[in-house]
């Protein structure tokens, strides 16, 4: 039913209408029923009230009649005379017996004539003794406190329904005084009534239908009439809403449950003078039956009309919806793929417009479909025939498309892959890098390159992926297309290569380390060798002065022994000088090996230089030509530069030894060049051979027969310590020029 409703327009229309009209009908019938019931209940009340009033009247009239009759009886001679005898004579008296006999006959005749009488008795005014009764067992009992006796002695009295002292059954008694001819109240005539009459009286239901019922209940809540007369059924009295209200003195209507628990519509009335409740009740079911049937009829007729209307609506809807249904049916077939169909244009109204619009759409769709099919074929060929892997995944990395090459490579069907995430296929060690790289897809240019391992049909293999993001119209990434290639062979080669490279590096490292060791060993050896050479040179140089000293001392000793003191002074000078030589040699060696801190002072450079030159021991025939151009203050270590000057000048002087240069000239020149003093010493001596010139600054190099060979090495050190430079140019036979520079202001460690 529900699927039909969802699918069918007409069904929905008809069902909707039917539901609406049935609701209306239900409402109408309910309202009718309620309205009818209220009216009915009112009319039932009225009927019940009337019935109760009638019954009450009847009851009162009947009781009035009986009272009259009893008054009349008491005055009738049959009763009065006999009663006088019975009340005045002894039981054993003849008259008494005669009167009793006649009384019995008369009384029984009355009872026979009047079926309402149950018992006729005569009570003596003297103590209420029953002197006669139609029920002989009651005779000679005393009833001095019964109301019918005490009240009946005074006047005619009706004792309303009460439980009989003898039988405990409800009874009613009418009593009247018996007055003798002298006007004396000698006794009471009491007639006890059969209450069966009430049943007959009340049960005559006056047109109250099948379930209508009238009954009497006394003030003790006991039934006095009706089918439930007596106490046996309801030992504690009968209680219903109506009865209880009436017993408390009210009269009125109500709908309540009766003594049998059946819902009734009832009317109750308290008859105060009779101390009785008169009830009239009718079962609700019967009382309200017309209302019910009215409601049912309205429902029935309404429903029939609804159905007829529904049929009419159905026909109308069919007619109206026909074109729409036709469109729907054709559209369904078009959607199923029958693109060659056209929707029928049956009407010229909005539905017709709809149909035409659909036809236009279908036509466009048809041409799109044809070109799409062509494209699809093209792309299919492209994708199916290429060896690269092509996938498309969503943002959660789930496959939306996998190429057949991918399926084959991973040994899974398309169905197994689609909708599942690709990441589990990736090697655990590569997953993090893959995810990190794919972050780039979310920023321009929305591509990334990934190399990763994945578990294929043949186990782990390397792939290179070029991914690119597909953007929606808002520029948000919503899909990712990846093109991949198996690069396992290349990757393995790379890894192998890397391994070799690493191995090579290790070997190189090892060899380098070995070389370094060897080198440091060599350096060590070289240093030792150099040290050895230095020591050898030093010792060699020192041995001549030592030998001289020894010789001199020996000779002095010998001279003293022989007292030939001619040469002693000369010998002592020799010893003294050679001791100085030793000292100088040692200092020179120390100067070379120990780096000295500069102690700078300022001097007028040219003046200072002249004073140094004056100290020099200039050999005979040597001319020093001065060309000085630095008449200004220069800051330098004068002690060290002095040594430089002396050393260079000594070399120049030495160059004239054993060499005939003609005029022996040394040109000493100073000039200021930029921030330096340039000093040059040029001689026209023997000159230096090219091979010796190369070695001139090497320590321990010497061409002289004496000297350690440290001179120029120390000179170079000193000049460079000042921040200057030194150079030597020479040609054999032409002479030598030594040029060095010293800064105008040397930053010294200390100022002297």
């Amino acid at each position: 039913m529900l699927p039909l409703l969802r699918k069918s327009l007409v069904a929905r229309l008809v069902t909707g209408f039917l539901l609406l009209s049935l609701m209306t009908v239900a409402a109408a019938s309910s309202i009718s029923y309620i309205r009818a019931r209220d009216v009915l209940v009112d009319s039932v009340y009225e009927r019940l009230r009337v019935a109760v009033t009638l019954k009450e009247n009847e009851l009162n009239r009947w009781i009035g009649d009986q009272r009259q009759e009893i008054v009349y009886l008491a005055k009738s001679p049959e009763i009065r005379d006999n009663a006088a005898q019975l009340l005045s004579r002894e039981r054993s008296h003849r008259y008494f017996r005669e009167a009793y006999f006649r009384m019995s006959e008369n009384s029984n005749a009355f009872i026979k004539r009047n079926p309402y009488f149950r018992e006729i008795s005569i009570l003596s005014a003297d103590g209420g003794r029953v002197v006669f009764s139609t029920i002989p067992e009651h005779e000679d009992t005393y009833r001095p406190h019964d109301l019918y006796f005490t009240e009946g002695l005074k006047q005619t009295y009706v004792q309303n329904v009460y439980p009989s002292p003898q039988s405990q059954e409800p009874t009613m008694t009418v009593a009247t005084p018996l007055i003798n001819e002298r006007g004396e109240r000698r006794g009471v005539l009491a007639v006890h009534f059969n209450l069966d009459w009430m049943e007959r009286l009340i049960l005559e239901n006056a047109g109250l239908g099948e379930t209508g019922e009238t009954y009497l209940v006394d003030k003790y809540n006991d039934f006095v009439s009706g089918r439930h007369f007596g106490r046996s059924e309801f030992p504690r009295g009968v209680h219903t809403l109506g009865i209880d209200r009436a017993v408390s003195g009210e009269s009125g209507y109500g709908r309540y449950l009766n003594y049998e628990g059946i819902p009734v519509v009832g009317y109750y009335r308290w008859i105060a003078e009779r101390e009785l409740v008169l009830m009239a009740e009718m079962h609700e079911q019967e009382a309200l039956a017309p209302a019910k049937s009215l409601g049912l009829i309205i429902s029935f007729v309404g429903s029939i009309i609804s159905f007829l209307l529904a049929v009419a609506i159905f026909l109308l809807a069919r007619k109206t919806a026909g074109p729409i249904l036709a469109i729907a049916e054709t559209s369904r077939r078009i959607a199923a793929g029958e693109l060659d169909l056209d929707v029928p244009v049956l009407t010229g109204d909005e539905v017709g417009t709809l149909a035409r619009a659909i036809n236009t759409m279908v036509a466009k769709l048809r041409s799109l479909y044809v070109s799409a099919a062509r494209d699809e074929e093209k792309y299919r060929l492209l994708v199916e025939n290429q060896t690269d892997l092509v996938v498309k995944v969503d943002l959660e990395g789930r496959f939306l498309f996998v190429s057949s090459t991918y399926c084959e490579m991973f040994g899974r069907s398309e169905g197994e892959l689609l909708g599942n995430a690709f990441m589990p296929l990736v090697h655990p060690d590569d997953q993090e890098a893959t995810a990190r790289e794919m972050e780039k897809l979310f920023v321009a240019p929305h591509t990334c390159y990934i190399e990763q391992r994945a578990m294929t049909r043949d186990g782990w293999r390397w792939f290179a992926w070029v991914d690119s993001a597909v953007l929606d119209e808002n520029g948000e990434v919503f899909e990712i297309i990846g093109v991949g290639r198996d690069i396992t062979d290349r990757k393995l080669a790379e890894i192998e290569l890397e391994k070799y490279q690493k191995h090579l590096e290790e070997i190189v490292e090892e060899r380098t380390s070995q070389l370094r060791d060897v080198q440091s060993e060599l350096v060590q050896k070289e240093r030792l060798a150099a040290l050895g050479q230095l020591a050898a040179t030093v010792s060699h140089e020192i041995r001549n002065p030592l030998g001289t000293i020894r010789n001199a001392v020996y000779t002095i000793d010998e001279s003293l022994a022989r007292e030939e003191l001619v040469n002693v002074r000369k010998l002592a000078e020799l010893a003294q000088r050679n001791i100085d030589r030793c000292d100088r040699i040692i200092n020179e060696m120390l100067d070379f090996t120990r780096k000295r801190e500069l102690i700078v002072s300022s001097y007028n450079f040219d003046n200072w230089l002249q004073s140094v030159v004056l100290e020099l021991d200039v050999p005979e025939g040597v001319v020093i030509r001065k060309n000085l151009g630095c008449d200004r203050e220069v800051t330098f270590d004068s002690e060290l530069i002095r040594r430089v000057i002396i050393n260079i000048m000594s070399n120049a002087f030495h160059s004239f030894m054993n060499y005939d240069a003609g005029r022996k000239i040394v040109n000493l020149t100073t000039k200021v060049r930029e921030s330096m003093v340039e000093v040059s010493v040029a001689d026209n001596g023997s000159g230096i051979s090219p091979e010796n010139l190369k070695k001139i600054f090497e320590p321990l190099f010497s061409t002289k027969g004496f000297g350690v060979g440290l001179g120029m090495a120390i000179v170079k050190n000193i000049v460079e310590d000042h921040g200057g430079e030194i150079s030597v140019s020479s040609e054999a036979g032409e002479g030598t020029t030594v040029t060095f520079t010293v800064p105008l202001a040397t930053n010294g460690g200390r100022h002297g």
Partner: protein, 119 residues
């Protein structure tokens, strides 16, 4: 001059040469000095010496070369070489074939020198 007490001293260190001359003269020797091998050869041509004292390391011709030249002319010459070098150094080894009686290592003991000369 008594040739038997005439010595030729070849030494480029002037102080050493002078001190040794004074020592030898007080010991009764006559000493002729030279400062180079060339000078020594010239002197050797002109004079006769009982003994030659020669430094190995000389400017120009070395002591060993000079001695070789002297020996080639007068093979009986008694010669003593002097050196400031180490025992076993190349110069000393080359001296062993020069025909010298011995090598004196500076600063040598005077008695050692006198022993050789006296013999």
């Amino acid at each position: 001059m008594d040739d038997r007490r005439h010595l030729l001293l070849v030494e480029d260190d002037r102080d050493f040469s002078e001190s040794l001359r004074l020592l030898l003269e007080i010991k009764g020797f006559a000493v002729t000095r030279a400062v180079s091998g060339e000078e020594a050869l010239d002197l050797f041509e002109e004079n006769r010496f009982c003994c030659v004292l020669m430094d190995i390391k000389l400017p120009g011709m070395s002591g060993v070369e000079t001695l070789a030249a002297i020996m080639s002319r007068a093979p009986d010459t008694r010669a003593l070489l002097m050196t400031g070098c180490e025992r076993g150094s190349d110069e000393v080894i080359s001296a062993s074939r020069s025909g010298a009686i011995s090598v004196l290592y500076k600063p040598f003991r005077i008695n050692e020198l006198l022993n050789y000369i006296d013999n």
